[in-house]
């Protein structure tokens, strides 16, 4: 794949305020994205709480490759391609577990946790260099794996920007995620939800901070929620679900006040828009009060106030991670084919917080990210309509100009705009173009 050229040059597909439809429907563009974006950028692959002990592993998708993320004896984390160095069989068939050695079931080649070849039955029958073992014939290793506050990212490129500078100021979203835990750590829990759509992966990332769509796409769930105001009094999961449905019914002027923001690395986020009842940033209920007390015990009043005041909704870490620190959830957008995407959603327990906090986080994700969600199901439908429409070649370009005249740029390259601006989409495509055009390396 390396060195693939797009006819006419990939940069010709991106203009300041419009995008060529090939970016969504051409399998050659998808193949290039796998090589130049998912083959190089820092991609979220898992959380440290999933692999606490030596030998604990989870399988993760890194672009087109499946990798084994495994905790080492010394506490480090290594990423290994799940492919036997002998005849290419997938080594570990289960998505998670614990192993002292990684053994292929085909001819029993055995690897250490760091991927080095450790034992080969009938070793004398193979070529001499295999007999000598060592890393050369081990499992292929992911060049870079780094954790930021427990969130593990991997890069298939051995050089390039480090994780910290790749995240830039978006590290604030991950910091706030962990800072909200009274014990200063979080634990992934509750399994995962996965939804799929027949559409390009970028459609999800573009939609996540598109604040004009909720009033139209989510009109039906807003309408039925407005008919049930009595449920708003509920301080538990029913009230939470109702408030979430209602919140999509802001007027356009109110969405503008919510605001959208982008960072020079291609990341973007929107302001918070959950203001009422059990989803308000500062809740009046006893559970939240106990939680707040635990935070104050650790941080004191001023810092606790500062932590709880961070009110952003979808924090989009380019290219494919959505972080919600206020509700302790993550969504990972996995491109499967040019017209097929799987979105996995995870929730986390705030270590040291009252147990009830976790249920609300879990149920937040249930309402937001199940394939049966009263909200997300309509988004999935629209993504599929976009994909199907973009297959039509009558119009070559789509428009992403909304709000372009209203952007404010900081000295550090951060940009801010009223909520109905398509600023985040433009910022995502600037990063996209940078990665797609640069020679792979």
């Amino acid at each position: 794949m390396s060195g693939t050229k797009y006819p006419g040059g990939i940069e010709s597909l991106i203009r300041a305020n419009s995008i060529h439809r090939a970016v969504y429907v051409d399998p050659r563009v998808f193949a290039l994205e796998q090589e130049r974006i998912f083959g190089r950028a820092w991609i979220y692959v898992g959380h440290e709480s999933e692999i606490r002990n030596p030998g604990d592993y989870v399988l993760a998708q890194l672009g087109r490759d499946e990798v084994i993320l495994v905790r080492q004896e010394d506490g480090g984390i290594v990423g290994l391609h799940n492919r036997c160095a002998h005849r290419g069989a997938r080594v570990l068939p289960e998505s998670r577990g614990n192993r002292r050695r990684l053994v292929c079931d085909y001819h029993a080649w055995s690897y250490r946790l760091d991927g080095a070849l450790d034992g080969v039955p009938l070793a004398e029958g193979y070529a001499r260099e295999i007999n000598d073992a060592g890393e050369k014939h081990g499992l292929a290793r992911v060049p870079r794996v780094e954790s930021y506050r427990g969130f593990i990212f991997a890069s298939q490129s051995s050089s390039g920007t480090g994780l910290k500078s790749f995240l830039g100021d978006m590290s604030i979203a991950l910091d706030n995620f962990v800072d909200r835990a009274p014990a200063a750590s979080v634990t992934q829990r509750g399994g995962r939800l996965r939804m799929e759509y027949r559409g390009n992966w970028k459609l999800f990332m573009e939609n996540a901070t598109d604040l004009v769509h909720p009033g139209f796409v989510h009109a039906s769930s807003v309408a039925v929620a407005r008919r049930a105001p009595q449920l708003a009094e509920d301080g538990g999961v029913t009230g939470q679900a109702l408030q979430m449905l209602l919140a999509n019914g802001l007027r356009l002027a109110e969405w503008n006040a919510v605001g959208v923001h982008s960072l020079p690395e291609g990341h973007a986020f929107m302001g918070g828009f959950y203001r009422d009842g059990v989803i308000a940033a500062e809740r009046p209920d006893p559970v939240f009060r106990r939680y707040r007390d635990a935070l104050v015990a650790r941080h004191g009043e001023a810092k606790t106030d500062a932590i709880l005041a961070v009110d952003r909704f979808n924090n989009l870490i380019w290219p494919n991670l959505s972080v919600n620190s206020r509700f302790q959830t993550l969504r990972v957008v996995q491109p499967v084919a040019v017209d097929r995407t799987v979105v996995s959603a995870f929730c986390f327990e705030l270590d040291g917080a009252p147990a009830e906090m976790f249920e609300l986080s879990l149920r937040f994700l249930n309402t937001a990210a199940s394939p049966a969600s009263m909200v997300a199901s309509d988004d999935l439908e629209i993504f599929e309509r976009c994909q199907s429409g973009l297959e039509d070649s009558a119009l070559e370009w789509i428009d992403v100009s909304r709000g372009a005249v209203e952007e404010h740029v900081d000295a550090d390259g951060a940009r801010h705009a009223p909520g109905t601006s398509e600023l985040p989409i433009r910022a995502q495509f600037e990063a996209w173009k940078r990665y797609m055009v640069e020679a792979a390396g």
């Binding site: 399994g191 009109a219 309408a223 799987v342 394939p371 049966a372 997300a376 199901s377 309509d378 999935l380």
Partner: protein
């Protein structure tokens, strides 16, 4: 031996009543009488589709559906709303119900197992969901009410495209 097998089977007359109740429930879903379907639930009734076959609660593990009657009512109303895009055009479904076994679970409630194959047609595509269902039914006057409907999808842990019509 499963817990069910320790419960007493119901008599023939009750067995038939329960069987007809499940067939009627399937008809309400297939004919899109979603409000009437929700009416079958007790006030404390719960509809639950887990993501894991061994899942023992909707509180600590994510679920595809996990809703009490109030939210189910909103769901039914939404299914009648013209701007529910994911049902425009609407799905056509067949709920094929089979293998119904009902037992007494004490307190006048029944523990009912069934297998349901849901065939769904929408937008020129047909898909199938194979479901193992557990109903807890309560007698309320002349009627039966759903206290719990748990649906274990054979592929509960797969990525799913949008799901709009309940199983």
């Amino acid at each position: 031996m499963s817990r069910d097998a320790t419960l007493d089977p119901v008599g023939l007359e009750t067995a038939q009543e329960i069987e007809l109740f499940l067939f009627e429930e399937a008809r309400l879903l297939d004919e899109r009488h979603f409000d009437h379907w929700v009416d079958l639930f007790a006030a404390d009734g719960y509809y639950w589709v887990p993501t894991n076959p061994a899942q023992d609660s909707p509180e600590l593990t994510l679920s595809i559906f996990a809703e009490g009657k109030a939210l189910l009512r909103l769901r039914a109303q939404r299914l009648g709303h013209p701007q529910m895009h994911v049902q425009n055009p609407p799905s056509r479904t067949h709920h094929h119900v089979t293998g119904i076994v009902a037992r007494h679970s004490g307190d006048g409630e029944y523990e009912v197992r069934s297998l349901v194959l849901v065939a769904e047609w929408r937008n020129a595509e047909q898909r199938f969901f194979s479901c193992s269902c557990r109903h807890v039914l309560r007698r309320a006057g002349a009627d039966l009410q759903i206290v719990l409907k748990r649906v274990d999808l054979l592929n509960c842990d797969a990525p799913h495209r949008a799901i709009a019509v309940p199983f």
